[in-house]
């Protein structure tokens, strides 16, 4: 325990000395300020919304950047020491390997969590001054939830570090794993769901197989009760479990990922007596160093690229490049979020007045495309509904319909319900423009007992 503490403290000192901690906190803090500035401007006078929106955007940013930094730094823990030639001296000290690995893990964890928390402060202070009220408890929870994404990412990074035979290889694997978990996984899931009609079990399994997915869903769950934001698996989970149980399941998943990855790292790092039955008789000519296998493909290319720059400079270079990529990604996302924010806040861009002609057009679209399953009154009792399981949604259920934003209804109409766990809902890519505005207005009237809806907030194509 003493050695673990000593190594953790040294790791924290190294993190501060190498300035990646400051760089990470500064990038996150600055982006947080920009987000807060936009949020406060768009929701003037609405302090809770400002805080909620800022915390949500910043948390999203965290979920992109924190796993990246955690994976890259985790990958450097053991493989980096080996590359720098300091490993031999370190393990020759009177400590055991568990203490070494746990110390490094804890030191990095404290560094990352601390830097992430600090990064939220400028945005919170700005909002406190701009809105004249302190941050509500709920907004304070977001950074804490974001921390949960750091745990599995760091543990996976350490696992990569222990199992790779060079720092370049560990780093390459970490970057590819980050790209997979944060960027590619969603795309693949989306593609699979759109091309195959898979059930709820697959969706929930897919969610639990990606810790970053679980963390994001946990954040959204803490955000607001809009099922649109929860995405497909989230909507399914909260419908089959309560919110509290869903949160408990997600936290457990994240902790399980952390424990399993760290456990595997510890097991791989342990020394075992080898079976050396014929060692003495073998010829030393079998010694082969770094044979190149042409079939390794992408991985070996990335490894060779990383191997050209040595030591800590490599880690810093990769971190810097990836931070730039991540910031660019967040920039694109922020642009989209900004549009959505302006729409939700009633900005000019997305607000459409609905007149009688438009509503009538909406009714026609509804009758042609929706009524066969959802029924003319929207109760989910259309002629085709009898053969469907699960049954179509009841559009006259105002409680449920009010949890959906106009944008989320439009999305489900456009791309279908597969992404939200309703594989029976087909896509209607031909519905768009004013037809979509009219359709949404008409669907809303069904849930409001005929009361006419006068406005729809939607960025139309």
């Amino acid at each position: 325990m003493r050695a673990t503490r000593v190594i953790a403290r040294k790791e924290l000192g190294d993190a501060l000395r190498h300035r990646w901690l400051q760089l990470y906190a500064a990038v996150l803090g600055l982006l947080g300020l920009v987000i807060a500035w936009y949020a406060a401007g768009d929701t003037a006078g609405l302090s809770l919304q400002s805080y909620g929106r800022t915390a949500a955007s910043l948390t999203n940013l965290c979920l992109l950047l924190a796993p990246l930094v955690a994976l890259v730094l985790g990958a450097d823990t053991v493989a980096g020491e080996r590359d720098r030639g300091t490993f031999d001296r370190l393990v020759a000290q009177p400590i055991d390997r568990r203490e070494l690995l746990c110390g490094k893990f804890l030191g990095l964890l404290v560094s990352l969590v601390g830097a992430t928390l600090v990064a939220f402060v400028p945005a919170a202070l700005y909002l406190a001054v701009a809105t004249g009220s302190p941050p509500p408890l709920r907004a304070v929870m977001f950074p804490l939830v974001a921390m949960l994404a750091i745990l599995p990412a760091l543990a996976l990074g350490v696992l990569l570090s222990v199992t790779a035979d060079s720092g370049a290889k560990a780093l390459a694997r970490a970057v590819l794993l980050w790209a997979w978990l944060v960027l590619l996984y969603d795309l693949l899931l989306l593609g699979t769901l759109l091309s195959a009609r898979l059930g709820a079990g697959f969706l929930i399994g897919a969610l639990l197989l990606n810790p970053m997915h679980s963390a994001r869903l946990l954040v959204v769950l803490a955000l607001e009760p809009d099922l649109y934001l929860l995405g497909p698996a989230g909507a399914l989970l909260t419908e089959s479990l309560s919110r509290a149980w869903t949160a408990a399941l997600l936290v457990t998943t994240l902790l399980a990922w952390t424990v399993v990855a760290l456990g595997l790292a510890l097991a791989a790092f342990r020394l075992r007596r080898p079976r050396l039955r014929e060692v003495a008789g073998r010829e030393s000519s079998v010694l082969r160093t770094h044979d190149h296998n042409p079939r390794e493909g992408v991985m070996s290319s990335v490894v060779r690229l990383f191997a050209r720059v040595g030591g800590r400079a490599r880690t810093r270079l990769v971190l810097f490049l990836l931070l730039v990529v991540a910031v660019a990604l967040v920039g694109c996302q922020a642009g989209e979020d900004g549009d959505a924010t302006r729409s939700a806040a009633g900005g000019r861009d997305g607000l459409h007045r609905v007149d009688a002609a438009m509503l009538e057009r909406g009714q026609q679209v509804y009758v042609q495309n929706c009524a066969p399953c959802h029924g003319l009154t929207g109760k989910g009792d259309g002629t085709a509904a009898a053969s469907l399981d699960p049954k179509p949604r009841d559009h006259s259920d105002r409680t449920y319909m009010d949890t959906l934003s106009d944008a989320s209804i439009a999305e489900v109409v456009k791309v279908g319900g597969a992404l939200r766990g309703f594989p029976n809902m087909p896509s209607h890519p031909h519905v768009g423009g004013e037809d979509m505005v009219g359709l949404i207005a008409y669907v809303r009237t069904l849930s409001r007992g005929g009361e006419q809806v006068k406005e729809v907030t939607l960025a139309i194509d």
């Binding site: 003493r2 020759a92 009177p94 020394l271 073998r282």
Partner: protein
């Protein structure tokens, strides 16, 4: 004090040690000679319990693989490539090493003074000369006054004056200790009055091999 029987070790499929039998009595100094790649550094790693091996090893009555921490507490180790973290200051480096050995931070400061490095205590290790780095390494190996010293080519890469200075410091600091010292220059350590053991291609050979390939000047 140190005993190995049929010690075998390999990196991947390449055997490095092929059945090493070695005995070093308490208080004895043994010079380990042999060409590069003979397995000297690997033998040290086996004694420290930092690599897996086959056969039997006992260091002060302990099995390095099963009782790694207790074994290493009794060993002061000076690795061949010094393995110092270049961006730490000399003082930070020594304090970290003492804390890892369960000693107070002040022990690190004392070690720096004894190695006559107090003047450069606040300089980064990267900025030290080769001789200073080696003196720091020796000081770190002596932290906590361990009864056994494993010194892997302590004078390698130094000029003649630095080599002589370090050898003298070694002779002075290492009295009453059990020492295994790997070197290519046995004559430099004549004052230690040591017995020599030759290691070649992962095996102990009797007397000096005919090729004398381990001796480089």
């Amino acid at each position: 004090m140190i005993r190995t029987e049929s010690l075998v070790q390999s990196y991947g499929r390449a055997p490095v040690l092929r059945g090493v039998d070695l005995a070093v009595e308490a208080g004895e100094t043994v010079l380990l000679l042999g060409p590069n790649g003979a397995g000297k550094s690997t033998l040290f790693r086996c004694l420290l319990g930092t690599v897996a091996y086959g056969g039997s090893v006992s260091v002060d009555g302990r099995d390095p693989l099963r009782q790694g921490r207790e074994t290493r507490r009794r060993i002061g180790y000076l690795p061949q490539s010094d393995g110092l973290q270049g961006d730490l200051t000399v003082a930070e480096c020594a304090r970290f090493a003492s804390e890892l050995r369960g000693l107070p931070r002040a022990s690190g400061d004392r070690a720096v003074e004894q190695a006559r490095l107090a003047e450069v205590a606040d300089r980064r290790v990267d900025e030290l000369s080769g001789g200073m780095r080696r003196r720091l390494c020796l000081a770190l190996a002596l932290l906590g006054d361990p009864p056994i010293l494993l010194l892997d080519e302590p004078t390698a890469g130094l000029d003649r004056d630095s080599r002589e200075e370090l050898a003298a410091r070694l002779a002075e600091a290492c009295r009453d200790k059990t020492i295994l010292l790997a070197t290519h220059q046995p004559e430099e350590h004549a004052q230690l009055g040591a017995r020599a053991v030759w290691l070649e291609a992962g095996q102990v050979v009797d007397g000096e091999p005919a090729t004398q390939s381990g001796r480089t000047r």
